[in-house]
């Protein structure tokens, strides 16, 4: 891949930016707490998301203890088990993955990668984080409310979500719905920032098609989130009305203990439509930033330009558009018209095409690349494998005829954990190992990193591969315990014990990872500038870690796309995006 011939280019002088454009913090509080700097906000988002994610991790251990060793833990009751699964799911999907990818990586990487000083609306960006934090606190409050958090399942299906008998019916569900509404308001503030920054605040020479795929992934995912979250917002507000004001948006006529409830005439299916109109794009809100980041990790660590850059961008856009047309494949068992089901099965299978293109392109980027098996690369390869696995079971479940018998079994649990649990979290780990030196100036410890990688990667398969089998034999999800039923052989119980032990070991590896994050902050090896020899702009700042305002007096000027690795004739095996063409010539002239 050759770059522009240096002698034919008249490149422009870098743009100087007036000082007044940028907000300057004046005290410790405005610098680190009420900060308007996207990088600080990113770290605030990430730390909050990781903290609440650890809570969800502990919840999953408790669930696994109950499933693996039923009747051994008296403090896990059937009610608290339902609360565990609900809070685990909701926290992981919304408050960890969405917040970490968009609020965390989005805030840190977008301004740096497009060559901007900050987000376009720093104040709104700051508000976004604080509203998110409030949403998390409201969610946490539900653990301490009378009756505990809601146990309605992360899908919060009515009517049972707000009826007596469901744990957390008194306060838990109210706090959950309020927290979701707050999260969406906070996200919208941040999301508008990300979109407008990508569109309007790019530096000179940074065309859309010169952007790294990380920015493309986060950009399109943000658009999806902006358009999908209103559906969840509407659903949450309507359910809140049903719970607090006695309306019946989602509540049909219900007889409870021989008595007619005050509700009547509502449609529970309406909630399912609203929920999944949000819920399916949500899968891609989590996946697209992952796709983008993995593309950049693979390209950088294989020293090779990404294969089929344009097709990668088109695939991201196509997946984004198609993700709004597949939501009802989550509802095959809701009694829908079979023709409706066929339509959604077809759109679901179509979405596999751009997704498969991406997988092929990642593999073809690796093909004959100069692969460095660094930690980010290991996680990126693990992501590809895991995503393919989870994606293939998705093809099974996307077909209504296969989905109906497998619905609400452990097969579904295994599928979605592989595809949108383990796969995105592997990208997050890879991304943290990749960008930690940029953020802190120090490298993460390699030994602990390898331990973390191998235990997490192999452990995830030890957990989820057997779970597919449990689903095949009909073990249902969300059941507190199976008891003695004829169709579940004793081996299934042994398998459950095995899965629990594996889950606890993988959980321990995450504790090591958190320790590594903290330990390396103080004791880690000091990183050189641009340790991965990457081309993208975030590594080319005057200081590392980037200072307030990201760039010096002048903004960088971009002369090439983000993937000029191993360019023939160049002295180095990478050409940073802002390296002027005359300097390429100088380096090429050296023997």
């Amino acid at each position: 891949m050759t770059d522009t011939a240096p002698d034919t280019i008249n490149y422009e002088a870098p743009a100087e930016v007036e000082d007044v454009e940028l907000y300057h913090p004046k005290s410790f509080v405005t610098k680190y707490i009420w900060s308007q700097d996207a990088k600080v906000i990113a770290i605030q988002y990430a730390l909050t998301a990781i903290a609440i994610g650890l809570v969800a991790l502990v919840l999953s251990w408790l669930m696994r203890l109950q499933l693996g060793f039923p009747e051994m833990f008296s403090f896990i009751t059937p009610e608290s088990y339902l609360q565990l699964i609900t809070m685990h799911g909701m926290i992981m999907v919304i408050y960890l993955l969405t917040a970490l990818f968009l609020g965390g990586f989005g805030n840190y990487l977008i301004p740096l990668m497009v060559g901007a000083r900050d987000m376009v609306f720093p104040y709104v960006n700051m508000l976004s984080y604080w509203v998110y934090l409030l949403a998390v606190l409201v969610l946490v409050a539900s653990f301490f409310a009378p009756g505990g958090p809601t146990g309605a399942g992360w899908t919060l299906y009515p009517p049972q979500a707000i009826l007596a008998g469901t744990p957390g019916q008194s306060y838990g569900i109210i706090l959950m719905l309020a927290s979701l509404a707050l999260f969406i308001i906070g996200f919208t503030m941040g999301g508008l920032n990300y979109v407008v920054t990508v569109l309007q605040a790019r530096t000179r020479g940074m065309t859309l098609m010169r952007m790294p795929l990380t920015v493309w992934g986060i950009f399109v995912a943000t658009i999806l989130a902006l358009l999908a979250f209103p559906a969840l917002f509407a659903g949450a507000v309507m359910m809140m009305f049903d719970r607090l004001l006695g309306t019946s948006f989602f509540m049909p006529d219900i007889v409870e203990f021989g008595e007619n409830l005050k509700y009547g005439g509502g449609s529970p299916i309406l909630f399912q439509h609203l929920f999944w109109f949000f819920g399916h794009p949500e899968v891609y809100i989590v996946a697209l930033p992952g796709f983008g980041i993995v593309s950049d990790l693979i390209s950088t660590h294989a020293r090779r330009n990404i294969f089929g850059y344009r097709m990668m961008v088109w695939a991201i856009v196509a997946i984004g558009a198609l993700s709004f047309l597949v939501w009802a494949h989550h509802m095959y068992v809701s009694g829908m018209n079979p023709y409706f089901g066929i339509f959604f099965a077809i759109t679901t299978l179509i979405i596999a095409v751009p997704t498969a293109i991406k997988v092929y392109n990642w593999v073809l980027t690796l093909w004959r690349g100069n692969i460095h098996l660094t930690l980010p690369m290991l996680f990126a390869i693990a992501f590809i494998l895991t995503f393919v696995n989870g994606g293939l079971t998705g093809l099974f479940l996307g077909n209504a005829v296969v989905d109906v018998p497998l619905s609400d079994t452990m097969f579904v649990v295994a599928h979605f954990h592989m595809v949108m649990g383990v796969a995105p979290i592997l990208v997050i780990f890879g991304a943290i190992y990749h960008w930690y030196p940029l953020i802190t100036g120090r490298m993460l410890n390699q030994a602990m990193g390898h331990f973390h990688f191998w235990v997490t990667f192999l452990g995830a398969y030890a957990i989820y591969f057997p779970m597919h089998y449990l689903g095949f034999i009909g073990v249902p999800r969300r059941y507190y315990e199976m008891g003695d039923v004829a169709f579940v052989p004793p081996s299934a119980h042994t398998l459950n014990e095995f899965i629990t032990v594996a889950a606890l070991i993988v959980g321990f590896a995450q504790v090591v990872f958190i320790f590594n994050l903290t330990w390396s902050l103080f004791k880690g090896r000091r990183s050189e500038r641009n340790p991965w020899r990457a081309t993208t702009l975030e590594w080319q700042t005057p200081q590392m870690p980037p200072a307030h305002g990201n760039w010096g007096k002048e903004l960088p000027v971009v002369y090439r796309w983000a993937y000029d690795y191993s360019v023939p004739g160049a002295a180095q095996d990478f050409l940073p995006q802002n390296l002027p063409p005359d300097q390429v010539a100088a380096s090429a002239a050296k023997p």
């Binding site: 569109l199 065309t207 358009l227 509407a234 309306t247 005050k262 005439g265 449609s267 961008v313 000029d564």
Partner: protein
Amino acid sequence: MNLIRQLTEKPWVPAQARIDDQHRGGAFRLPAATLALRAFLAVVTVLFTLLILSYGTRMEFEDWRPTPPLRLLWVNTAILVLSSLAMQWAAVCARRGEIDGVRNGLLAGGAFAVAFLGGQILAWRHLNMLAAFDITNPAIAFFFLITALHGLHLVGGLVAWGRTTAKAWRGSDIAHVRLSVELCTVYWHFLLLVWLVLFGLLFSGNDNLGVLLTLCGLR
């Protein structure tokens, strides 16, 4: 911005690089705030479209009970039109550089908006006092939900309006407030449009949306 053309560029080709090097960075010749407002309007459009679709879906059920139309809503609609007109007046004055006109327009626009909100609350009370009032009736529940959400968006607009009005009062530099006034006006017109659609389809007569559904072959 021609999206298709941009997406088909080959950024690694030298000829394309020569073109790309001249790129100034922004995708649109617009202030960032204008683009952000447009994006936000798209988000709000999705929200209200989903609510209208939910309403329409619910109407298809056999037990649908319509509510008696409230005459007061016609008055409220007229007030909101006046509010929008006043804001438009402020925007025109801002373009001409007449700061007094901007101030008067903003004041009138804000006052009419507050009056509209008051009128909506009055409409809620009217509905509450009707003999046919039953909170489990989805038509009534939707009315409260949708008008409340529309009203909240207007309240949010009033926050921006307050900042703009304060700015217009503090300084006489018209260039400083022009963009804010224009963005407020766009938002006001948008909320008026949303209200007209909501009022026209859902709240002015019970079968308006039904006719539309029939025309679309959904009924």
